[in-house]
Symmetry: C3
């Protein structure tokens, strides 16, 4: 059993909770973005960059807290990995929005809405799981459900690829859309990587 | 010199041998797939998924064995890395088959056969090398030959890229084929990464 | 404070200085390449491969020195990471040149010149910073400037993407050029990763 100094411990959990909440905000912006009219996009891309920046700051705060702490609630490396993986999620969503704005994509295919729905559910589950890191209890369902949702995201992604390459669209549009859809698929993968880290922490510490 | 408890040691070598044999089976399916008529592909893709699943199980078995073992034949990290790298090989082959099925690609360019021939030779060399981990002897030729074959695979890959972008094919076909060929090239790289891990183990332990 | 055995220490700094100088040579070749007439390209690609090979050798020399040294000027892992990151820079530049030669690309878009200008400045700053690893002083400006230049490189890269997908070019040309430009963008990112490692060493050791 390892010593726990409560004041230090809770600080990490607060910071992870902030990172989780921030991801939920980012998905909210993403959801608006994918159905927004062209003229609203710039403002939404700006808000997504803000969320991405807040994510960077949450990660830095965790890493700084790590530098300052002699005793940590779990392995330093796991704390670091969790912070980085949470940051990845927003980076991919930010990249998707960024490319859609940059490429001046008219309308996104319908399946993108399904991708975003799944990201939304994954974000909420992840944010809800973060405070439970303090006790490492009741995390099994979180972890299993994220894996199921990631499988669903794979199916949606593959259906989108079939559509993209089905011959309806011109090649340049296919290239542009594929890059955006790839980023959203990477965001779904990134949620699974977060859950993997949480799972490995729970297994080690229990 | 490190202590060796024989019963535990041999278990790791058995598991690595299983992983090696499984890769040979996967290449056999891949070889059939690339020259199969369209109607046979679904069944072959299903068999490739089975090989991929068996690969996952071999990796898990190694990681679990690692968790249970106090004494390991070589560094825990190296055992872990080797298991993961072996798994990568099949993941890339599975992805290639998956994309070819998903994109409904008519015929693969001739050069793909050359890619698969090289993967076949790399798979056999790798499977033969696994039991030699027990003594860490006679691994030099394995390691050198894999590196040579990977260089040949690079040449084949580059020739395929020249063909793809040569102007004969329509852009959507180029995109589809490039993704499949990239996965096979990654499989060849992955064999080299396996050999790199084996090499670094041999250097450390000798 | 950690013990420093001067003779061993200086060897690492010399090797990092070699790696830095080598990157400057590689950028010089890259700069010639992007504005060279078609018939001069083969010779320049050959010179780039030489620089890439010299980079590999510098990395190996550092790793071997690491294997031989009991006492190192900073954490072994940081030395290793720095060597690998420096090597990455040249690998990306080499890949860009390689693809441009392979794809027989006529002329590169104007923006590529701006990418290379930024890489040139990053290379010089990096090479100048390497000898300062010995004292870990006066590295702040290096690190900040690299980050600024990487942001500029991002802007140039995004402008290039807008141009590529603007509809002027045929899809195959877009695909080819995008791969080349992506490699140069990765080289700029790689310079930033080098600076990140230097920064983290400076923070740890100060």
């Amino acid at each position: 059993m390892r010593l726990r100094l409560k004041p230090r411990d809770t600080r990490f959990f607060e910071l992870f909770a902030v990172a989780g909440t921030n991801i939920v905000s980012a998905v909210t912006v993403l959801r608006e973005f994918v159905s927004a009219p062209a003229q609203a996009r710039e403002e939404l891309a700006r808000r997504m960059h803000e969320a991405e920046h807040a994510g960077d700051e949450a990660t830095h705060a965790i890493v700084e807290q790590l530098d300052r702490s002699f005793i940590t609630p779990f392995d330093r490396e796991d704390i670091y990995r969790l912070a980085v993986r949470l940051d990845d999620v927003i980076d991919f969503m930010d990249a998707a929005v960024d490319l859609a704005a940059l490429y001046n994509v008219d309308a996104l295919p319908e399946g993108v809405g399904a991708q975003v729905d799944l990201l939304d559910r994954m974000a909420k589950l992840t944010a809800e799981a973060m405070p439970r890191l303090a006790t490492l209890r009741e995390l099994t369902e979180y972890w299993i459900t994220i894996n199921e949702l990631e499988n669903e995201a794979d199916t949606v992604y593959r259906r989108l690829l079939s559509y993209l390459f089905g011959g309806e669209l011109d090649p340049l549009t296919v290239m542009k859309l594929k890059e955006i859809i790839d980023q959203l698929e990477s965001a779904a993968d990134a949620f699974e990587h977060v859950a993997d880290v949480v799972h490995s922490i729970a297994v080690k510490e229990s």
